[in-house]
């Protein structure tokens, strides 16, 4: 409020202690070690030395400890920024000869008055002016409201087209020519800041940004630092704020359902968990949560993603030009960073929805705020939905899930940060008391960052991830036949990355990774004591993956940058296992086994290895436009075995083995990127071509569950994909959003000796993910300070399908004969969703903040095809007989929902 400032000043001037001023504050420097003194003592020391005025309330400064060492010629303003970084105080410089300490919550834009030419901040000692041509400006971009750092904020100098993005703790570094510059500092959803600086020598700067409007508190805190090279292309980033602004089904923000609105990323199907990137299968996407791999990304079989939206800081997806530190999946890497906890105060937030609710608590654990935490949980009450259905099959049915996540962030001195993350989720479903499904994710990671010096950073990660799937088949009449089926995967891994920078012209990342896998393809056990079921287990698979990589970023000139990377991956399939040898002159079938090989425990069954070169080039055409090119090769050693067209939790993972070779992908991409209006609008066009070797498809009628010789049911295939992706995004202003369009094709072909291992007589056929046209339009409009309208429209081609072309009568029943595989295509999909959000309260001092979001999914109620299939229609005597084609829509009506989100 406008009256806060004068009131506070009057108050200060009446009661504050003061020291008479003699010097300019902006020219003052401090140096030396200040240990275990209060800020009050510090200002008295400085004030006495330099004869400047400080205005403050003593009790406020007494509570702030100073434990800092300042090197020679550290500007006083920089020193104060460092000291006050984690406090609730800020400061204001009056007429360059007085410093006023004020509470952060009581100020708005005191520290820098944006856009005023008179406010030029000197960085460095004026006595050193002219000693260097360039200087390193480092600093931090934080939320002016709560002091939280921004990751991904942009600090940009338009006159030289140089810029930096904030990383860990909101920090940035940029080397600039000395002199007066106007910096633009921006972060999505926040008001751009323009700050004039007089850069004299190396120095630091803290910049506060404020929200465009005062909606619900957005939590954006520091996650694991992620280095993105300047030549990187084929990358999409979506922030927590963007995820939460999209209208979604049942009002639950969802990272995966948001990311499919980006170009080149397609949904598998309505309410399906998986996503396809550039024509790749869902198992070709590596999803990382704070560095730990996620093997199942869904709750309720695809209704929700498994990650609590309040816990997410942001998500980056790499579709091409993959950095060499990533590997193991050929289509994409989705790198999700979780919030690490509010540094300033305890905060509670959550949401109440129709089907589920969520809550998150975060804050500092210690008074010095060096340890922060975040705890989150979600649960559902979807059981009651089943109870509403009048059908005996549902009388004993239930469906539920919950998940919990926790992060703990510890600052170990000035140079190290330790972050620990844990996640657990569980889904239960039982159908009519006969079939019981349960699956769970257990994920943990430890991230340790250490600055060895100003230019060398080490990053060490230890990860653990486990996915278990359980199924109990229960028979009402034959209890002795009840059995329990288990499949799962367990993975422990570690990787270490060393990043080094040599100024602005070269940087390098070097590292190694090791992962161990234990995969359970299937195990059957009896359910009860009277069971006649015998224990049966498809032999567990063990594997070890060891990789090393190097990534080099070069700035050859102001216009030309390049990234050259190389990854060397090794995959060892380990015993104990029995591998069967098949008659080479016949198709692989169980009755064609001619021999077997036994491999003892932990012996190497087969080693796969390969070099994976990665290369990216960026050529700047002018200040706003660039051309980029990339090539990547990736080896994938794990697959998901599934013959469903969407992701099912029953799909199980399978490592390469004696018979199944790794999937190898080569991708080349070319893109044109252009910014408009000072980066407020960004646009891009990319084309790509991808070649896939050693794909897996399935024989007709393949049996995948509890298959001891899975190699007899799979078919080796090759494939290729190509496409054009167009994208334009407006990130500023009351109306913002993006439009993306993709034209792409994804084809496959078998080339095997035997007819039963051939699909469509070895002709090229579209993969099930081949959807040529994909359009997404996302728009958010801030109607007023409290009302916000959002909408998105999606359109994509129907996916290929196999339809019956012929009928025939067979033993009194009508049967069908199918077309070639994927010969036909389902009808196109399009949908429009809309939501409107009302913020309850905009007063900053009010602790409880809530918002209501009303959304309608599928506004015009289109019956979008989920699948096209046939059903036998019942004849009069009750016997099913004639086949009819049907189209099934999962959400065939406009689906409204109301959600209440809150923070405290």
């Amino acid at each position: 409020m406008w009256y806060i400032k004068p009131c506070y000043f009057i108050f200060l001037f009446l009661i504050a202690n003061s020291v008479q001023a003699q010097q300019k504050v902006s020219t003052l420097t401090v140096h030396g070690d200040f240990v275990n003194i209060s800020l009050l003592e510090f200002v008295e020391l400085v004030g006495n030395e330099h004869q400047i005025s400080f205005y403050y309330q003593p009790e406020e400064l007494e509570s702030i400890q100073v434990n800092h060492s300042f090197k020679k010629n550290t500007p006083l303003t920089s020193a104060l920024e460092v000291i006050l970084e984690t406090s609730n105080l800020s400061f204001l410089i009056i007429l360059d000869n007085a410093v006023v300490f004020i509470p952060k919550s009581g100020k708005m834009d005191f520290r820098f008055d944006a856009g005023t030419n008179s406010d030029i901040l000197e960085i460095g000692d004026p006595l050193n002016r002219g000693r260097t041509n360039r200087a390193l400006l480092s600093g931090k971009v934080i939320d002016g409201k709560n002091g939280e750092p921004f990751i991904g904020a942009v600090v940009y100098l338009a006159e030289t087209n140089e810029g930096a993005t904030t990383g860990k703790n909101g920090e940035f570094e940029i080397e600039l020519p000395v002199g007066i510059h106007e910096l633009m500092i921006s972060y999505m959803g926040y008001i751009d800041r323009y700050k004039k600086i007089d850069l004299i020598e190396d120095g630091t700067l803290t910049i506060e940004l404020f929200e465009e409007s005062h909606t619900i508190d957005e939590v954006t805190v520091v996650g694991q630092s992620r280095y993105v090279s300047r030549s990187q292309m084929s990358i999409n980033k979506i922030s927590s704020k963007e995820i939460k602004s999209l209208p979604v089904l049942v009002g639950e923000p969802d990272v995966i359902k948001s990311i499919v609105l980006m170009p080149g990323i397609q949904s598998v199907g309505e309410l399906s968990a998986g996503f396809n990137v550039r024509g790749g299968n869902t198992d070709q996407n590596l999803v990382l949560m704070n560095g730990a791999p996620v093997y199942n990304t869904s709750h309720l079989f695809g209704f929700f993603s498994m990650i609590n939206p309040d816990a997410i800081s942001d998500a980056i997806i790499y579709k091409g030009g993959m950095p060499s530190r990533f590997g193991g999946r050929v289509s994409s890497v989705m790198d999700i960073t979780l919030n690490e906890g509010n540094q300033d105060h305890l905060k509670l937030q959550g949401g109440l929805g129709l089907i589920n609710s969520r809550v998150t608590l975060e804050g500092p654990l210690t008074r010095n705020k060096k340890i922060t935490f975040l705890l989150g949980a979600r649960s559902t009450y979807s059981d009651w939905l089943l109870k509403q259905i009048k059908n005996t099959q549902f009388d004993n049915s239930s469906a539920s899930f919950y998940d919990m996540n926790a992060t703990l962030n510890i600052k170990l001195g000035q140079n190290s940060t330790l972050e620990m993350m844990g996640y657990y989720s569980e889904d239960d479903f039982n159908f009519g008391a006969n079939d019981f499904y349960n699956y769970s994710n257990s994920i943990a990671s430890i991230n340790w960052d250490h600055n060895f010096g100003p230019n060398v950073i080490g990053h060490w990660v230890i990860t653990y991830s486990k996915y278990d799937f359980n199924y109990i088949d229960s028979d009402e009449f034959f209890k002795q036949y009840d059995y329990h089926l288990f499949t799962g995967i367990e993975n422990v891994g570690t990787n270490y990355t060393l990043s080094a920078h040599a100024g602005d012209i070269y940087s390098m990342q070097l590292g190694g990774q090791a992962k161990g896998y234990v995969i359970s393809p299937g195990e059957v056990t009896p359910v009860n004591d009277n069971s006649s079921i015998v224990n049966e287990q498809v032999a567990n698979e063990r594997a070890l993956e060891i990789s090393s990589f190097i990534n080099n970023d070069f700035d050859f000139s102001a216009n030309l940058t390049a990234t050259a990377g190389l990854r060397f991956s090794n995959f060892y399939t380990l015993g104990e296992a029995t591998e069967y040898i098949y008659n080479e002159n016949q198709s692989k079938r169980a009755d064609n086994i001619v021999d077997s090989l036994f491999f003892p425990k932990n012996s190497v069954i087969k080693r796969f290895y390969g070099l994976e070169p990665r290369l990216s080039l960026k050529y700047g055409l002018n200040e706003a436009a660039s051309l980029r090119w990339s090539y990547q090769r990736v080896h994938q050693y794990l697959r998901q075995i599934s013959n469903t067209s969407v992701v099912s939790p029953a799909d199980y993972w399978k490592a390469c083995d004696y018979h199944i070779d790794p999937l190898i992908s080569d991708q080349i991409a070319l893109g044109y990127f252009r910014d408009f209006k000072g980066k407020s609008i960004e646009a891009s066009a990319e084309i790509y071509y991808k070649k896939l070797k050693n794909l897996v498809d399935y024989k007709n009628g393949a049996k995948l569950v509890m298959n001891h010789t899975i190699e007899t049911d799979v078919i080796k295939a090759h494939g290729y994909a190509y496409g054009l992706e167009l994208y334009i995004k407006k990130s500023k202003g009351r109306l913002n959003g993006w439009l993306s369009y993709t034209y792409s094709r994804a084809m496959q072909q078998t080339n095997n000796r035997f007819k039963e291992e051939s699909i469509n007589n070895d002709r090229v056929y579209p993969s099930v993910y081949d959807k040529p046209h994909d359009l997404s339009l996302v728009a958010n409009y801030q109607i007023s300070r409290r009302w916000r309208l959002s909408g998105n429209f999606v359109f994509f081609s129907g996916r290929p399908t196999t339809l019956p072309e012929q009928k025939y009568r067979y033993k009194g029943r009508e049967m069908v004969y199918y077309s070639d595989r994927n010969k036909y295509r389902m009808p196109s999909y399009h949908r429009f969703d809309i939501s409107i959000t009302l913020d309850e309260n905009l007063k900053k001092k009010r602790m409880w903040k809530g918002s209501w979001t009303f959304s309608i999914y599928n506004l015009y109620g289109r019956n979008n095809p989920y699948s096209v299939y046939f059903l036998r229609e019942s004849s009069q005597n009750g016997n099913a007989d004639m086949f009819t084609l049907f189209k099934y829509s999962v959400i065939g009506v406009p689906f409204p929902s109301l959600t209440y989100n809150f923070s405290f």
Binding site: L271, V534, G701, V768, L803, E805, K807, N879, A880, D881
Partner: protein, 356 residues
Amino acid sequence: MRHQLAYIIIFLSFIACEEVYVARLDNSKPHLVIDATITNEPEQNIVNLYRSYDFYGDRIKNAANWVEGALVIIQDEFGNEVVAEETKKGNYWVNVSAKPGLKYRLIVTTNGETYESDYETLPDTPVFKSFRVIPDTIEEYVFYPTGEPVLQTDLVCRSLIDIPVKDNLPYHLFEVTLVLEYLILRPPPRPPVFLWKTFHDRNLFDVISLPPYNQDDWINGYTLCITRNKLEELISFDDRYRKNLKMVGWIVCVDHFGLTEKTFQHFEVLNEQMQATGKLFDPVYPQIESNIRCTSNPAKNVIGFFKLNSCKKRRFFVEKLVDRDTIVNYETQNYFNIPFSGELEQPNPPDFWLTP
């Protein structure tokens, strides 16, 4: 299991939508269908040859698309051949009594092309034991015209058997035909009217094998059939209003086949096709593979399967449920042919008639 997964999101059913879809299908050439069954019982042997028709084609019109004049041969592992006789259009009968343990194959020559099956081995003759009947209650929702669901219970008789599933005969197929017997009783001297009506189950093929991961030698308590007891729900609308109707019971005619593993898998794939729901988590549709190939033109597709099944016919009587504690049932050696339906007004019941 994957089929059951289809039900998982079924609670979406109140917001989901299913509608008839008319696809633009290409015109494709009809394929030859060979439906061949050879058994140890010559009267059960049959080789039917006909052609498939377009998915949207006229079923009635195409039902008579028989393939006449083909040369159909059954050849045993020693090279002995028996030529089939075309008893009517496209229906070929082979006078051979296959021997358990011996291998046989089918050779068909028509329109200048030759089709040959793999050799199959005839399994042992199947058996089952302990036919028994227990009362049971079935619950299901029926919908009133207003759309209101009402839970309805039905008292039925469940016929159970025990089946040996030993190493040499683990795969079984049952084809059960139920014949409803009922009477119109009239005061003397008018004779009663004997009425009967046949019910065929044309749903899934009733194939059974040892449940997976099981160590038993027997499948105990397998439901062979369920017989209902509410006569008014089983007979035609007109018959319901005839006076003095009395339900007698059911004749249960069982054709029990022993299958080879390949034939069993073939029926399982047929069942998968028939129970496909096409919804969430449905597997990609499997094309039904044949064990018959066109040897003269390998690119030519052929539909169907050569089934070499051992066979055993059995017949039982199950009384209408009167007393839950005593349901009269027995096995009979009376194998008279039974017309599909009919009524006879005569003092004595027809030859096939069974009584409690």
